[in-house]
């Protein structure tokens, strides 16, 4: 019988040698005359175990990892193809606590299937959501998403169903659009990338359902250029979907049309902001537009447009299959369903953890993540990307939901969690927030364009002890101005990490030595 061996094609797995491992397995299997096929699956999201090699056995899939090319000969000799025991054996992959404790709705197929196999996709429940949507009235589909409580996973958390119903109700002279924002530029986030590389048909299905629901016939998927593997996988999947009739003039022979194409960004962080992304999709500089008009009324090329994040759209098929009530049953407060958290930075077990809203940050960082990779104490955790707050180790009992984070002057954002150990200099991190804003500002709003540069200068002065008290006041004033005077989240949220450093880590500015401001002073 032919043994099936899985070696991920995910770009994180490839960054630590998955291609070499896959090549070595194929080569040595040939030499040994072993009957095996290598499937390049997505990653299970236990990234510290990559390259994670799996083999299908009668007991289930057995995992080995992290595997180096040098281990392959020994693994094959030990009986890899039978799932034999070995020092690298992890046992049954689905029984590894990190995975077993998750509730994977959106990521259910990622790492399990061959991402570009339509057979695999359908065998594992793919297309069922789309078939259900095709049998429903568009308004009923929108209503289902509305009732599920699904909120935008890109960061802002706006109810997806509200956007959809606005687009459905807005007339158009010709077309409406669905735009998927896959410009996942926040450091510490990689779930969109892993989903596109690991289960591209799910995103296609979610976008198609969105199109059918609101009456849009064209979709654009805007992927950042830093994700070449995701671009290639999505382009191939879309081509296959058009050939199969899953996309095109008559989706699944329904007589209803939906076309989809990929557009590649060009290295601008601010294009992850929806209005800048629309400008970029139109072929222009990624400069933020003022709202109103909302994209739902006049978005891409002035037409009614749904703009959603990858994980928002990818959650939709599950909701249609299982019903709004089942999704609504998960989570807490006004944060319903699951969130795909990403554990990153200085963390022992980094990867993807999909859980209903409601657990604590400590559970993610310590129980799942295993603390820092360096083994030193956790000092700070930045949640929600470069525009999110730094939380001190003492605040990790915070509940994972939108409201709890807002109440703590922080944000969940896209679910990225970056851990720092006690060697971090938080004054430098505050400076970096301003430096990053100066680098990436689109330039439209003066408080962002100029303010970020001034922010770096002022922080440098405080660090150097030049009139620290006065400059600290100036920095706070500048933060207020940026929040109030910027059109989008770039300038509006850059103060968030800066203020969090002032609130929780003021000691790192080493104030007080000149007698101007006392350590831990009045900076709330």
């Amino acid at each position: 019988m032919t043994a099936t061996v899985y070696v991920p094609r995910d770009s994180s797995a490839r960054s630590v040698g998955a291609d070499e491992v896959a090549g070595e397995i194929a080569r040595l299997a040939g030499e040994r005359d072993l009957d095996l096929t290598v499937v390049r699956n997505g990653s299970r999201g236990m990234l510290w175990l990559e390259p994670l090699v799996e083999v299908a056995s009668s007991r289930g899939r057995v995992g080995y990892g992290p595997v180096t090319p040098g281990d392959v000969d020994e693994l094959l000799a030990a009986g890899l193809t039978e799932g034999a025991d070995h020092r690298l054996s992890l046992g049954l992959v689905e029984e590894i606590p990190y995975l077993a404790r998750q509730e994977r709705l959106t990521f259910s197929r990622v790492g399990v299937t061959d991402p570009l196999s339509t057979e695999d996709y359908e065998e594992h429940g793919g297309l069922a959501g789309l078939r259900k949507a095709l049998a429903m009235e568009p308004a009923a589909v929108v209503d289902e998403v509305l009732k599920s409580g699904l909120r935008g996973r890109g960061g802002a958390g706006f109810p997806a169903g509200v956007k959809w119903s606005t687009v459905l109700a807005t007339p158009t002279p010709d077309v409406k659009f669905v735009c998927c924002n896959a410009d996942e530029g926040d450091s510490g986030t990689f779930a969109d990338r892993m989903l596109m590389e690991g289960d591209p048909f799910l995103l296609i299905e979610g976008m198609t359902i969105a199109g059918l629901a609101v009456g849009a016939t064209e979709g654009f998927l805007y992927i950042r250029s830093e994700y070449p593997d995701a671009v290639a996988t999505m382009r191939t999947a879309i081509e296959i979907a058009h050939i199969r009739g899953w996309l095109g003039p008559s989706v699944l022979e329904s007589g209803r049309a939906f076309q989809l194409s990929v557009r590649v960004g060009a290295g601008s962080y601010v294009c992850g902001e929806e209005m800048a992304m629309l400008e970029s999709l139109e072929g222009r500089r990624g400069v933020v537009r003022a709202k109103p008009p909302l994209p739902a009324h006049a978005g891409l090329f002035g037409r009614p447009t749904v703009v959603n994040n990858v994980l928002t759209l990818a959650a939709v098929p599950w909701i249609l299959i299982n019903g709004a009530a089942a999704y609504q049953a998960l989570g807490t407060g006004r944060s319903r369903g699951t969130q795909v958290f990403q554990l990153a930075g200085n963390i022992a077990r980094g990867g993807v953890v999909e859980l209903p809203f409601g657990g604590s940050l400590a559970e993610l960082v310590n129980d799942f993540g295993g603390g820092t990779r360096t083994g030193r104490p956790v000092r700070a955790v930045q949640v929600g990307g470069p525009l999110g707050s730094y939380l001190p180790a003492s605040a990790l009992d915070i509940e994972m939901n939108y409201e709890a984070f807002a109440a703590a002057s922080a944000m969940i954002g896209h679910g990225g969690i970056v851990v720092f150990d006690d060697t971090v200099d938080m004054a430098r991190q505050a400076r970096f927030a301003m430096e990053f804003c100066a680098e990436e500002s689109c330039g439209k709003c003066t408080p962002c364009r100029v303010g970020a540069v001034r922010g770096v200068e002022v922080i440098d002065k405080i660090i150097a002890g030049e009139e620290a008290a006065a400059n600290l006041e100036l920095l706070k004033d500048l933060c207020d101005l940026m929040v109030d005077g910027s059109l989008c989240a770039m300038g509006g949220l850059t103060p968030m990490p800066v203020r969090s450093v002032l609130s929780h880590f003021i000691d790192d500015f080493h104030l007080g030595e000149d007698g101007q401001v006392r350590p831990g002073g009045q900076t709330g």
């Binding site: 994180s12 450091s187 990689f190 590649v264």
Partner: protein
Amino acid sequence: MAKLEGETPVFSEDRVRALVEPHRHERGPLIEVLHAVQADFGYVDKRAVAVIADELNLSRAEVHGVVTYYRDFRSEPPASSVVRLCRAEACQSMGAEALVAQACEKLGVRVGERTPDGRVELDQAFCFGNCALAPSVTVDGRLYGRLDAGHLDALLEAL
């Protein structure tokens, strides 16, 4: 449009026009066209700006504005090798700044510069989405995670 591996074609207006052609009827095609031109020539030549503007019925200012706005588009041919170190937060938490300093010293350049012989360019990036296996670098587009000083040295020496 055939070209030999690793060979940069000589600039020609006709070649640019041919690159525009498959995108002409797309919606808002300028960025797609610029990607195509850069993939072919390795950069967006000043002379290409005028041709693209003409083909897409845009002003030269509009095309120039887009080329200069996005960090991906180059107006000069690239070095033979480009090293991009990630300096975003997740990589910072795992010592990215020390690796940047190491690369600067080893290559004798600052970030954004190329070596005196013009062969290697050192650049920075803000996130490759490999944040669980930080720090990360790309060398000529190939991504490496869990980078450490020894591995970075080996990668730079192999250039």
